[in-house]
Assembly symmetry: C2
Homo-oligomer: 207 residues x 2
């Protein structure tokens, strides 16, 4: 393959992936046809098999991309102390408007069948989120403040749960949920004993 | 209509509703046909219109039932103090194995479209859950212990979120989530200042 042809193939693949991710998020997986994907992307229907095989192959590729996008938002470890708690709030608030959140919700029922080809990736997205929070909760200045008997891994699961569930409530009825206030109330109450006054500068400017 | 015929009509309606709820939870709304519902219920396909009109009417009736089942699990107010915090943990843990949780997740994408006929009911289920938690958080012995600036309504949203999201993680990968430990860690950390030692008898025996 020449360099130019390779580049065009890469572009077509990317256009198809983006169109499929949009359509799956909007209409769901089952209601989206390969013709819809071709129409939305501007790439010919006939070229899809060479890129992804069948519709399931396309779904798998969309979910791989989703997984890597979500993983990318968690590459920088959370700051120590109250700055990290603010970081959790920031992560939740910024995730809410991302395309990935809508896509995740749209494919969730698809993924919940253990035989689904995307089941493992979805379970891994949850596991990555728990690990990310767990690493912060296990920091000595946080873990020593937890009530007796509370394991960082179990609390990580509850925090990931709150991020999922606040976003789900907002997706269903944006007017009923004050997202910033909900996240702020959540981390303030969970980590009340941290030194919040000293961490103001850790709040990202674009939060 | 005679008494006997009325009773048979009521029974058929109930069998159809139950079959539809099961099938929507298993296969999703779009992949379920009215013939599937008739087959599962043992009621004739031809009688469905007289009960529910069309498939959308059946969906609406299933969601009304879902809404009232979830509302029923929240009729008793949460106990004061740490007993109420244990009650939140209990509510979350028991909801997880209920059929309603699976059905809620299965119909969520369906409901997320604001034009969907079940959108309002789904938004109301979330609102009912927030109100139920809010009433408890607004109790004087709880609200006075919240950090400055934390409004009970915002924290209620985060707690509802955690219930939704812990259940979602469990639905996707039951082996990865210790549900009892996650709920316990969650309420212990949020409401650490409550008198937990004095509330042991408030824990339901079947928790």
């Amino acid at each position: 393959m020449t360099g130019l042809r390779k580049e065009r193939t890469r572009q077509s693949r990317e256009l198809l992936l983006r169109a499929a991710a949009e359509l799956f998020a909007e209409k769901g997986y089952h209601s989206t046809s390969l013709v819809d994907v071709a129409d939305r992307s501007g790439v010919s229907r006939g070229s899809i098999p060479s890129h992804f095989g069948d519709k399931l192959g396309l779904l798998r590729a969309v979910v791989e991309q989703l997984h890597s996008d979500i993983a990318e938002s968690m590459t920088t470890p959370l700051a120590p102390g109250a700055g990290g708690a603010r970081g959790i709030s920031h992560l939740g608030r910024t995730s809410i408007r991302r395309h990935t959140t809508k896509l995740f919700l749209a494919l969730l029922h698809e993924a919940s069948d253990p035989d689904s080809p995307i089941h493992t990736s979805f379970a891994q997205i949850h596991a990555d989120m728990r690990d990310y929070l767990h690493a912060w909760l296990a920091r000595p200045e946080i873990s020593t403040e937890l009530p007796p008997g509370v394991a960082p891994g179990d609390l990580a699961c509850a925090i990931v749960g709150a991020i999922i569930g606040i976003n789900q409530q907002w997706s269903l009825n944006p007017k009923a949920v004050n997202v910033a206030a909900a996240y702020d109330a959540f981390v303030r109450t969970l980590f009340n004993s941290l030194d919040w006054a000293g961490s103001d500068e850790a709040e990202p400017a674009n939060a």
